[in-house]
């Protein structure tokens, strides 16, 4: 039976990274290649030994697909391609291709320079890895090879995030990566057509949650900023250029306008240049509102938000500053942080996850004393706020996506089976499909029932239609006779005559002949007649004829009677039938071997 195999790499229950192997139609595909941000040793890399015990992965994988630029989905890519070894194609969307190397380099710097680690990929490796990347456009089918094709769909979540449709022959799989079903201020909602994949693969991390509204998250943000400003404090918001910066700026601008607030808001120019640059490149990836804004003016042209200058950090009084980088690990945001950390009226708002080793990570873990360069200690007195704005689909979102794509099977990764029985039951009940939940390192095999499309010749079709009867019903298959010709990549069903003609073969007829001996005192003609009567009573519903030339015909079977030379009471019956009537012919010969019933005349 044809089947698709899915294995989430990794061990045990750890949820920190995505790397899924799919075997479909003889092809092996790696979906995402994430780094586990919680580990410091080799456990942070996916366990590639499942693919091969040692050696390069090139021969074992047909392609690698990366869904978006978050490190838990692409963080281990350079390690995989350059240190383990993979030279095949790596697919991702254009924005992902542009942004990944920046994040990977940042991550590398932090891990190697700040934490002093050695078994890690180098800048050159990141560059070499990215050379293997083939960018994808939305809704465009890409032929990886003769049999494997992939297509990217919009996933929302972050700039460039995609859900990917993978097809080999008539089997297909859709992998969602991270996605969200409700649009936010700068990204739309995920969308996919009714592609009916054999399996829809999704994360289960948020599948058992109900998300708090975006508005409430924004409210919390505004409340905290406002409270700090009101008491004369300064608010630092370290952001990644392509994260929520633009969205949060819009929010503050609207708020300042409405509340008629006077405190200054700044963003560092590095931030706006980068952001503008990328948004311009990838304008089709943002939502309608942003596109409209962008067409009219520069995205960072605000009434209340101005460009920052280093010297402003020392100005007295309240202010808000958006600065890069997002994890406080270097640059302007760290500089500002050092200046403002000592005052408890001030506040730093971290709008996203921070990698281990960064100041951001330390303060989010409650550290209030930081060791800086040159043994100096920094007392963290300002208020630290952690806010999550990331857009994820929740329990409702998963159901919506399943409704959209109509998969034949559902597969959830990164969840504990006992904690997802209810969701499994819900999916199975509402959609009547199986829901699989493999543990990390465990392979799920899903049997598929692919249909094989075959072209039928017009003549054959007409002939079948001419036979009449009810219209074709998928629940009641009707047998038809034809010949299947497989030529190059096409499958054709034609009538036997046409097939023979095409093949330049003559049709041969196969006829079986057998002799049956019978004891009968009558004349040959009478015996024949008796046989005719007998058969007519036994074989009701069949066409039986007694021809004047001395033969009885049953369907196409010919029966003749002659007397044996030695004894006129021994009759020899000659039965002859064609291959098509083999069953009936065999039946007749067995029947007649039993002799004729005495009562017949």
């Amino acid at each position: 039976m044809p089947e698709i195999k899915v294995t989430p790499l990794g061990a045990g229950q750890d949820v920190g990274r995505s790397c899924i192997l799919v075997s479909i139609g003889g092809k092996n595909i790696m979906l995402d290649c994430g780094m586990h941000m919680g580990y410091n040793d080799d456990r942070r890399f996916p366990d590639f030994s499942y693919i091969t015990q040692n050696g390069r992965l090139t021969d074992f994988l047909d392609c690698v697909i990366i869904s978006h630029f978050h490190l838990d989905h692409c963080g281990a890519l350079p390690y995989m391609s350059e240190m383990v070894g993979y030279d095949g194609p790596i697919y991702m969307t254009h924005p992902t291709k542009a942004i990944c190397p920046i994040l990977l380099e940042d991550f590398r710097k932090i891990t190697v320079d700040k934490k002093g680690e050695t078994n890690f990929f180098t800048s050159q490796m990141i560059k070499d890895c990215m050379k293997k990347v083939i960018p994808l456009n939305l809704h465009q089918t890409v032929q990886v090879d003769d049999e494997l094709e992939i297509k990217a769909y919009y996933a929302g979540h972050v700039l460039g995030a995609a859900m990917v449709h993978i097809k080999v022959g008539s089997e297909s799989v859709v992998y969602t990566g991270d996605y969200n079903m409700t649009p936010d201020r700068h990204l739309g909602a995920a969308w996919i057509d009714k592609c009916r994949p054999d399996i829809l693969i999704s994360e289960s991390t948020y599948a058992t949650t109900i998300r708090d509204s975006k508005r409430c998250r924004e409210r919390d943000f505004l409340k905290k900023v406002h409270e700090s400003i009101e008491r004369g404090g300064k608010v630092l918001i370290p952001v990644f250029a392509l994260g929520r910066a633009q969205e949060l700026c819009i929010l503050l601008e609207t708020f300042w306008e409405r509340m008629n607030l006077k405190a200054p808001i700044y963003f560092s120019t590095g931030l706006t240049e980068k952001a503008n640059h990328y948004y311009k490149l990838f304008i089709t990836w943002t939502n309608q509102k942003i596109r409209k804004t962008f067409v009219q003016r520069n995205m960072f042209e605000f009434k209340h938000i101005k460009a920052f200058d280093r010297s402003y950090a020392d100005n007295p009084g309240p202010m808000v500053v958006f600065a890069t980088p997002g994890m406080l690990h270097a640059g302007q945001s760290l500089q500002i942080f050092k200046k403002w950390a000592g005052n408890e009226k001030n506040m730093v708002i971290m709008p996203g996850y921070c990698v281990q080793g960064t100041i951001g990570h330390k303060i989010l873990n409650g550290q209030r004393k930081l060791e800086m360069e040159g043994r100096a200690t920094l007392d963290v007195k300002l208020q630290v706020e952690y806010m999550s704005f990331s857009a994820h689909a929740d329990a409702k979102g998963i159901m919506q996506l399943i409704r959209m794509a109509e998969p034949r099977n559902m597969l959830l990764v990164h969840g504990e089976a006992v904690k997802m029985e209810f969701l499994k039951g819900k999916i199975e009940q509402e959609f009547s499909i199986d829901c699989y939940m493999p543990a990390n390192g465990e392979t799920t095999t899903v049997t598929t029932n692919p249909s094989v499309p075959v072209d039928i010749s017009l003549n054959l079709l007409k002939r079948e239609m001419a036979l009449g009867g009810p219209l074709p019903d998928p629940k009641k298959p009707r047998t038809m006779h034809g010949t299947l010709i497989m030529k190059e990549n096409s499958l054709k069903l034609v009538s036997s005559e046409q097939a023979l003609k095409e093949l330049g073969l003559n049709e041969h007829q196969l006829r079986f002949t057998c002799h049956v001996q019978l004891q009968d005192p009558h004349s040959d003609a009478d015996t024949l007649h008796r046989i005719y009567t007998h058969l007519k009573s036994v074989l009701k519903g069949y066409t039986i004829q007694h021809l004047p030339d001395g033969t009885v015909i049953v369907e196409s079977i010919v029966i003749k009677v002659s007397s044996s030379a030695e004894d006129s009471n021994t009759k020899v019956l000659l039965l002859s039938w064609s291959y098509q009537d083999e069953d009936l012919g065999s039946f007749l010969s067995s029947l007649l071997k039993k002799g004729l019933p005495s009562g017949i005349c």
């Binding site: 058992t208 998300r211 708090d212 409430c216 409405r258 509340m259 706020e385 952690y386 806010m387 006992v418």
Partner: protein, 382 residues
Amino acid sequence: MEDAEFEDILDDWFIESLKTYKDLHVYQLEHPTQVLEWTSGKSVCVAGYSQSKNEILELRLPLKLLADENKSLCAERDFKVSHGGFTDGPVRCLTHIPGTRCAVTNDGLSSDLQVWDLGGEESDVIRRTGSIKGKRSASERGSRIAARPSSAPQVLHGAQISDVQLTELASGETLYKLETDSADPLSSLQFVSDTVFLAGCCNGSVYVADTRTSAPPQLSHSPSSDESVIWWTDAAAGPHPSSRRVIRVSSSGQAVVSDLRNLGGAGCQAQLDVQTPGRCSQVKVSWAPTLDDCISVSGFSGVVQIYNTCLWGAEPQEARPLFEHRGHAVSSQQTDDSVPTVVTSHIWHPERPRTLLSAASDGSVHVWDWVDPDRQGGSPTP
């Protein structure tokens, strides 16, 4: 309503909320719930009420709301669906049995009860484990249910006052029956001590009885003789017998407070500031567990109101609410304007003084911690 207009109103209310709420969380369930019941200090049960299949969900409150010390370092704002199950009919009443992982429901169509196991660590499925036969196979309002506060799992239930009985869950045995002939349908049923309970009828009369005796119950007649009016009741579960008060609210907005030991006696009254009085079937009135004299009312519209009863006098006068939660009305997801959103239920957090949960007919569930307007200006006291 135009999208832009809608966004504007939302913005105004949200911006106002910066000052009027300490915490605010807004969720959208797939299906609306009429029940909100604590199963622990951190989790609530909700359940659907459509005609056929529904879900019962146990939701764990967001960590950020509950975190007191490291609140600012916690970004977790979502509900976690910790357990879930399926029912065959609507769920109109859901009661958790204290000290157990057991809940009892009624579908509002008969007075039979369904018994559920809410599940533990090993499974996230809520399973039906049994049923308790009620007196009526068909009932317009269904049964009210109250769980005995301590001791072995027992439930008090009934659709009308004469049906009230106490059933032991494990055996199904009836341990007590309320002796009365009256067939008044019930709108509330609750224990005020381990053995004494209060049964509030739709017509406004209130019965108080003790499950240890077969003596006839104490009856306090309805404050109003108007038969078209429906009443709902709540008794405060205060620590001292002296603080045990009872409030009755009518569908016309009349509110009457009396002392539990002297229900007919002089208490205080008020005419509540409710819109569309008369058009409601899901009114809920509740004493605040930790705020003296405060009551909350919902079900008249898309608003939850909080009143301070100590401002009420002996003569009914119009009362202004101390606080109004207008979130459901303002951010209603319903597109059909002819059917306005109504708050279907609300509950107070048992310990956090000003934290409430409210649910509405559009499927929204809000968790809010309001700021006492009388105390605004200073730093909020926990």
